[in-house]
Structure formats: C-alpha cells, structure tokens
C-alpha cells in the first residue's frame, strides 16, 4: 500500500523522473524536451533544495511515484533562485536570445526569469506548489493525500494561503484542484495558464463534499 512520507535526498532521481513523465500538461514530456534534466531543474529540484521540509512523496515499495513540492514564501524563493540556484546552471543552459524557436529554448527562458513567478493577482497567496503523480498511480487518492499533507504543513508553519499555476489545457488536473478546494484566480496577462488559489485552513472540507452529513 503506497504511503505519503517526507522527501529524502535519495528521492531526487525519482522525482526528476516523475517530473519529465508528467511535464507536458500532465503527459510525458520526454519527446518535447530531450534534455531530461531541464524540467526538473525548474520545477522540482530547486524546491527540494530550498525548502525540503515542504516536499512529500508517495512511496510505493521504497520508490517515489508521486510528489508535492513547493515554497512557503514565493518572493524569497524567487530571490534565492536568482542568486543561488540559477548561476551554476547558466553554462549548461545559456540565456536564449531573441524569440524562442523550440520548446527547449522557451523553457530555458523560464529558467532565466524566476521573477515571472511574482504575479500580482496571487500576491496574497504567498506559497506555491507543484504536484505530480505517475500515471500508474493516479486516481487512487494519492494526490489528495499529498495535497492534504502539504496544506497541513503550510498551516502548521503559519502560512495562510497557497497558489499554483497550471497549463490551462490540463483539464484532469484542473478537476483535481477543484475537488481539493482551489478556486480560480483570473490572471489576464497569462492566457495559456490557469492560476488557482486556496486558504490553508479547513483542509478537510473538500473530503466531506458530496458525502452524506452524518452529524445529528
């Protein structure tokens, strides 16, 4: 029975693998981004480096098959990303010049602009997260268990609200976040992305939704 547990440093390779297998709006991204380290260097590894206490995995027989990572404080994470995380990567991933002509060039552009994460509409949701599960382990409640653990950890740390950004095309993920109590935050400047947010309080309310009320 897979269980949720805190992240350990020896999960890094498994997390990177999950990231690339789910990195194209939920689908396998390995054909789109041939460098298999690129997406993990943007969407997973900086988080487990900066705030490992907020990283959790679904462990199936000793192997991580899903994760949630994030930061409790997006502006501080962005400063750290710019100052500490990015410099060692610029030789391998030089900043693209001009209009990006490939998906990889576009993605490297994201790597070089961590300030893109500072979106005014979600300024009141200081934390943000990324969550991914291998397709073999989806629709079994593991996503809910990861998210609940993450939201509880944020609440324990005194963080009031969290946001996430997703590809608007990923309808299954959108439905999952809706069930987890996230609401849409309109960001007109980002038409291809959906921004969602929620409070870290009342984490269990989503679970009760649709179930009979057994209270007297």
């Amino acid at each position: 029975m897979p269980t949720v547990r805190p992240y350990r440093p020896d999960d890094r390779a498994a997390l990177a693998d999950i990231c690339v297998r789910t990195g194209d709006a939920g689908e396998d991204s390995r054909g789109l981004y041939p460098d298999l380290d690129l997406l993990p260097n943007i969407f997973v590894l900086p988080y487990v480096e900066f705030e490992p206490a907020l990283a959790f995995v679904v462990d199936d027989g000793g192997r991580a098959v899903g994760y949630v990572v994030g930061t409790s404080d997006t502006p501080t994470f962005v400063e750290w990303f710019r100052r500490v995380w990015l410099p060692p990567l610029t030789e391998r991933y030089p900043q693209p010049t001009g209009r990006p002509s490939t998906p990889t060039a576009w993605m490297v552009g994201l790597l070089h602009h961590p300030e893109r994460m500072l979106v005014p509409e979600v300024a009141a949701y200081p934390a943000h997260l990324h969550i991914d599960l291998l397709p073999t382990h989806q629709r079994a409640g593991h996503g809910r268990a990861l998210m609940t653990t993450f939201l509880d950890a944020l609440a324990d740390a005194g963080v009031a609200a969290v946001h996430l950004a997703m590809a608007a095309a990923n309808t299954r993920a959108r439905a999952f976040y809706g069930r987890m109590g996230f609401h849409e935050v309109p960001v007109p400047a980002a038409p291809g992305a959906a921004y969602l947010g929620r409070s870290t309080q009342d984490v269990q309310t989503g679970r009760a939704k649709g179930m009979p009320d057994l209270r007297p």
Partner: protein
C-alpha cells in the same frame, strides 16, 4: 481604450516610474501623468492596490520615513522582463500595421512605455 491599456500595463508603468523617481504613491501617480503628457491617469485606488501587490511580491520596498517606494533586485529584473515583452509586442503590432501606418504616427516615443526611454537608464 487608453484606460484599459494603462490598466493592462500598470505594473510595468509603476515599476518604471519608481525606478526613475522613487517616491510615495502620490508621486508615482504624478510621475505617470507628467511623463505621459496627461494621458495616463489611473485612479489612485488602482495604483495603491497595484503598489500593495508589488510590495507583497517584494518587487518594490516601502520606506516609512520619508515615505517612498524603491525597486528591489527582483523588481528591476521584472521591469526588464516586462519591458522586453512589451517591446516585442509593439514591434509585432507595427509590423502587422505596416510601414505606412508606422510612418504616419507622431514621432514621439511609444505612448505605452514612457519608462523605457528614460534617460536615467544607464
């Protein structure tokens, strides 16, 4: 129409105004109005809301005494990024409109990006 353009680019305009001239909210509004030749007059309510978001995202810092906003490192980076995006968009619009349209325009700087021509940019 001008109002919706200003609203869509308010963060860029505020960051540019603060970089050119750190000041309080009223000074930022004055700067926008003066540099745009009176064209940009966003409501103080919208400006204060936007400044609050910029501050929460630590793109600007607010000093209490004398009360003024300044850009953070993230704010400077964000300004450059937004400016490049807008430049690219404006260039695309002009390309689509064609040479005749571009020549027919007044010779002043593009109205939507007063900060981008700031002489303080070194």
């Amino acid at each position: 129409m001008m109002r919706s353009y200003v609203q869509a680019h308010l963060d860029l305009l505020l960051l540019a105004a603060i970089r050119a001239e750190p000041g309080d909210g009223a000074a930022v509004i004055r700067h926008l109005r003066e540099r745009s030749g009176g064209k940009f007059a966003p409501s103080s309510q919208r400006v204060y809301a936007a400044l609050h978001h910029l501050e929460r995202n630590r793109l600007v810092e607010r000093y209490p005494e004398p009360r003024r906003y300044t850009l953070t490192n993230s704010g400077r980076r964000s300004l450059e990024m937004k400016r490049k995006e807008l430049d690219s968009f404006v260039a695309g619009v002009h390309a689509v409109l064609g040479q005749g349209g571009a020549k027919a325009r007044p010779t002043r700087a593009p109205a939507a990006s007063p900060g981008s021509r700031s002489p303080r940019r070194g």
